[in-house]
Symmetry: C2
Subunit: 131 residues, 2 copies
């Protein structure tokens, strides 16, 4: 029921001054890529900590290349921590940081929305295409 947070009735480009739109775009671009959410959700599901091969099995269809690069980006962003154990064969474990965990809640919001409404979206698409 809230009004769109009035900053002026017809204020052009209002969102783009509030709250660093670049940050929003970058965030959305990141979790909007092909694998990031699945890796995040899988890591959570595996208890917040897992090794490379576990994630590989947990995310069907992902290639080593994509899992590796996705994890590297997550690590660079401070969302996961990579821990290398100097053994043979090598073992690497990835653990979600508090920052990473904090992203789970808003992410879950979108997952829930998709769960609840995607059928409607599909129907809308069908109606639209039937013309």
């Amino acid at each position: 029921m809230k009004k769109p947070s009035q900053a002026g009735p017809l204020d052009p480009a209002a969102i783009c001054r509030s709250s660093d739109p670049l940050a929003v775009r970058e965030l959305l671009t990141k979790i909007g890529d092909k694998w990031t959410i699945f890796v995040i959700l899988s890591l959570d599901l595996l208890g917040g900590r897992a090794r490379f091969s576990e994630l590989e099995r947990a995310v069907p269809g992902i290639s080593q290349r994509m899992l590796s690069s996705t994890l590297k980006t997550l690590e660079r962003d401070g969302l996961v921590i990579r821990e290398l154990f100097p053994e043979v064969p090598p073992r690497v474990e990835y653990e979600m940081t508090d920052l990473g965990k904090s992203l789970l809640h808003p992410t879950q919001g979108l997952v829930d929305w998709a769960k609840a409404n995607w059928e409607q979206v599909r129907e809308a698409q069908s109606r639209y295409d039937a013309r």
Copy 2:
């Protein structure tokens, strides 16, 4: 703090059976593209209804081509309704549907997260790159 919703301790591919992962991915892919969130947020900010040229001004940097195709996708997905007024010069208004409005809350969750935490992400990136 909730546990990761136990479906089995080491259940491979668990998310991928729950809740239509395709839907989640498609949703994220859509709002993760370059313009969709900005168009949605701008449309909300303009009161949930606006014409093409208003949106063009509200989303700095967007081209006619991208605004047009973004709106077309949103219309197809049932998130906005396009209304054409048979006048000269032509007038077209776009209005958010209830479905579209319902997407605002989960979306806002991500916007808020970005607002609150992006600085930390940037710092993590700097630390990572400084090596």
